[in-house]
Symmetry: C2
Subunit: 419 residues, 2 copies
Amino acid sequence: MRSSQLFTKTRKTIPADETARNAQLLIKAGYVHKMMAGVYAYMPLGKRVLDNIAAIIRDEMNAIGGQEVQMTALQPKELWEKTDRWDDKKVDNWFKTRLANGVELGVGLSHEEPVVDSLRPFVDSYRDLPLYVYQIQPKFRNELRAKSGLLRGREFIMKDMYSFARTQEQHMELYERVAAAYLRVFERLGIGESTYRTYADGGYFTEKFSDEFQTVSPIGEDTIYVDENKRIAINKEIYTDETLAKLGISKGDLVEKRSVEVGNIFPLESKYSDALDLYYTDETGEQQSIIMGCYGIGVSRLVGMIAEHFADEHGLVWPENIAPFRVYLIRLESNEQIIRTADALYENLQSAGIEVLYDDRDARPGEKFADADLLGIPHRVVVSAKTVEQGVFEHKLRTESAKSMRNMESLKNVLTTGA
Amino acid sequence: MRSSQLFTKTRKTIPADETARNAQLLIKAGYVHKMMAGVYAYMPLGKRVLDNIAAIIRDEMNAIGGQEVQMTALQPKELWEKTDRWDDKKVDNWFKTRLANGVELGVGLSHEEPVVDSLRPFVDSYRDLPLYVYQIQPKFRNELRAKSGLLRGREFIMKDMYSFARTQEQHMELYERVAAAYLRVFERLGIGESTYRTYADGGYFTEKFSDEFQTVSPIGEDTIYVDENKRIAINKEIYTDETLAKLGISKGDLVEKRSVEVGNIFPLESKYSDALDLYYTDETGEQQSIIMGCYGIGVSRLVGMIAEHFADEHGLVWPENIAPFRVYLIRLESNEQIIRTADALYENLQSAGIEVLYDDRDARPGEKFADADLLGIPHRVVVSAKTVEQGVFEHKLRTESAKSMRNMESLKNVLTTGA
């Protein structure tokens, strides 16, 4: 894409009420637009990052047999009363609305109830299980405060998966398969090394632990205790001698770290399936409860988290797999030969399937370099009088200060293989 | 995908309150789940059709320079007060909700206001125009009645595009470019031949006409007058001698038809841009109004419309480009050789990039054939004792009753080239 055809620009000023660094950066770079506190619209570059993250998650959920659906935001009250999650005294962050005839509706804050409801016509025998259902779509939560930018929104994009198993044993197989898929997701997102499967409180549903996926980061709001060798961690909430003994972890192996939660997985037992009358008949004709798990990844939260985690004093720094473009191509000066060379390189890379944001504007060099940094595209390539004269291109990684002069072959190499 | 791994099944019974034929069919075939009147969740097959339609629309919008964004459902009251579209007396189908602190919010029924608002940081010079912005996401409309299934939902998926031009002349260029793209979209969706660009009332915004895209169909609720030669039509609403004279169309060339609206495009003049203080500075330094257009296609409406339009007494009949799978592969009987042959064909077609729903269930032949028809997959392929013996496959189109025996090469030919 040519910069001249991208309607967003980098911004000097941002809304005065925006205090979260992730949102400040993303607004400054033109990735998002703030509609109100905790509610952000995605501009073209932000939409590309969001879609790239969603595509990786979708790919890994499909690989373990996840079946994609799309639930609705509008929710009937009756469904949530059955699980006792309608009353504002029980669940305090509903957005509620009304039909024209006065009937009260909810605006989906989660989707356990509708997913279970949607399975009722299809699941009744042991032959129908196990299964995974997932979706990637907006959630709405009426948070009292929303000051963390994209890390905790009132409207946000989430991947939520639900597993349905015949037995506890089968449930544990499904659960572990998702845990492994989650580690692959975070690896592909570029935060694999710093992300740990973390024991956390099972909460309302179970006496077991739940699992969080926590990324160690200076921007973290959580505290975890990491065992580097085992590559696991324990959330501070449950960091007691009793828990450590139960888990067979010794205090001496643990290091305290700050971290950000990037995913969580929960055993739900049969709370929702029982309440909504979803059972199965086993091989002997007996009716049995269905054991559920639920598995969340905040997609828009990851946009904010990754933005803030990797950013430096010059702006955003996207990991290769989720950057809106792989290459930021700058042409310096506007003489005919430079334009022709840069245009040809742009076409050449695009044809090779390498996505390029081509800064074809008549702007000052300093402005172009600053934008390249602020936007955080992984590779910067410059075409100038000097490079044209030498028949090469100047290449620089966003994460490094060293530049190198490369001919076309060498440039394509570094863009495709990283070498 | 194997049927045994698809959690949905065809259904014998559907909700008693469902009176719309499109929803009845889609529920029976397991494509959608009814949450409440006018609110449908997409099950895996329905989600695939929805995504296929969206992909075609996205492709054509990108081809004319559309930039994809994603607006939010939650909307601040202040924004809509500026265009006088907040008051329920002015716009009577809002869903409204409240923040925990009592502040009233809207749940997005359209997105002119937020799109214009999101452009304000980026558009101020003639150099920033023209541009197209579009999105594909849910809309919410508080319809008093919702009895048309997916044709008129309370929550539905829509593609809405907005154009921004310097002058009326430039606006008309953008407008006509979208009109041409719309015809390509409907062509690719399989309803090109029966879809007409149709003059309609300009409504609130303009003294000009707006344009609808109407598909001639027995299920239509609208009446249009079609000029087959010019491939245009006129909506009954504006079918007067005066209009005909204005448009230079003679009554004798027109035939009355029933039709369904599948898209519409509107000149918005500068109503929203002026009200929301979005102007540009021209070459001479003068501030100028921005001329907008808006362009809608109901994506989920198209799922329902195409379902009902093509269905026959046996069930759904999807056009090739949007079917959830290209091939419904049936294996009859379960002896080892048949299973091996069908498995190999399944792998072979999948490797060739042909998407197959493989009915690997141990079910009666009649049930499998009935499901193939109800699901509406374009190509049916059968592997049976007879075909294995002859070293061939039985092929049948959903739209035809004739079967043919084909070897692998011939089968692949018909699946890829249609020959």
